[in-house]
Symmetry: C2
Subunit: 179 residues, 2 copies
C-alpha cells in the first residue's frame, strides 16, 4: 500500500520539498525523516551522514532550480538590457520562486562562510542563471556575455532588496539601467 523500497532517489524530492518550505540551515534529521516518510536511522543509512545528506540535497535542489528556470522560459526577447532585467525581476518575484529564493539566500550565506558543498550548489545554480540571462538579452546586444553579467548583478541585487523588504529600491535601481 505504501512505498516498499526507499532510496536516495525516491527520498530526495520529498526532502527537497521539506527544505524548500522550512529552510535548510535548521533542518534536523528527525523532521526531515518524518517529511520523507522514513526514519532518521534510514536517512543516515542511505546518505552515510548528515553532511552527505546535505550535499546530495544541495545537488538535487540545484537541479530543480535549473528545471524551474527552463519552465519559466517565456516569450519574445526584450528590447533593452533594462527591460530584460525588469522582466527577470518580475519572474523572480513570482510566487513559485519564493521558496527557491529563501533557500538561495541560505545557500549564499553558507557559501560565504566557506562551506564547499554550498559553494558548489551555488555555482551550479548561478551557472544556470547566467546562461538563462544571456539567452534573454536583446538580440542586438553588443556584448551579450558582459551584458548578462551586468544584468545578473542588478537582478540579484534587486532580489536581495526584495528579501530585505526594500523592493522599491530594487525597482528604482533597475529603472536606472542604461538602455
Amino acid at each position: 500500500m505504501e512505498n516498499l523500497r526507499q532510496s536516495p532517489d525516491t527520498l530526495l524530492p520529498k526532502l527537497a520539498a521539506h527544505v524548500l518550505e522550512h529552510g535548510l540551515a535548521g533542518a534536523s534529521l528527525r523532521p526531515l525523516a518524518k517529511a520523507a516518510g522514513t526514519s532518521d536511522r534510514m536517512l543516515i543509512y542511505h546518505f552515510k551522514s548528515k553532511d552527505g545528506l546535505v550535499t546530495a540535497l544541495l545537488e538535487h535542489v540545484a537541479g530543480m532550480y535549473s528545471q524551474a528556470l527552463e519552465m519559466a522560459w517565456p516569450t519574445e526577447p526584450a528590447a533593452t538590457r533594462r527591460e530584460c532585467a525588469q522582466r527577470l525581476l518580475a519572474i523572480g518575484r513570482a510566487p513559485m520562486f519564493a521558496p527557491f529564493l529563501r533557500l538561495w539566500w541560505e545557500i549564499v550565506a553558507g557559501a560565504a562562510k566557506g562551506d564547499a558543498a554550498y559553494r558548489a550548489s551555488a555555482a551550479a545554480m548561478m551557472d544556470s542563471q547566467l546562461a538563462w540571462f544571456e539567452a534573454h538579452l536583446p538580440p542586438d546586444d553588443p556584448d551579450p556575455k558582459a551584458g548578462a553579467r551586468l544584468v545578473a548583478l542588478a537582478v540579484e541585487g534587486a532580489l536581495m532588496m526584495d528579501a530585505l523588504g526594500l523592493g522599491e529600491v530594487g525597482e528604482a535601481g533597475l529603472a536606472a539601467l542604461e538602455g
Copy 2:
C-alpha cells in the same frame, strides 16, 4: 582585577566580535558567554531571552557597520558610476570587511525567511550603505538617488558573486556599467 560589573553595553562588543568571527546562525549561549567572559545564565539575565540577545546584537552590529563605513570614507569622487561601483567593490573586498560580509549574508538569509529582527538590522545597514553610495557618486551625476540605487544593486550583486567564489563575474558585470 577583572571586569567587576557586566552589562549589556559591556557585553555587546565582545559578543559582536565573537559573532563576526563565528557566525550568528549557529551561535549558542554557552560559547557566546565564554567569549564574553560570563555565563549563559547571565546572558539570559541581561537580555531576558536568546531572542532578546540576538535582537540587541543585530542592532549593535548594524551600528558597528555604519561606523566602519564612515571610517572607510575616502578620497576624491569617482568620475563615472562605473568607476564608483568598482571602487566600492574594492572597498567591500578589503579584509576588514570580510567578517561583516559573512555576517551580512546570514542577515539577508534571516530577513528572507521573514524574521523581523533580521529585517530591521538589514534595513539599517542598507540605509547606511545607500547613503554612502549616494555620497560617492560623481558630483555631476544626473540623478544621484537613482544612480546610487543602481550602483547598490550592482555592487551588492558583485559582492554576492564574491561570496560564491565567482569574483570575476562581478568584475565583468561592473565593467559593463554605463559611464
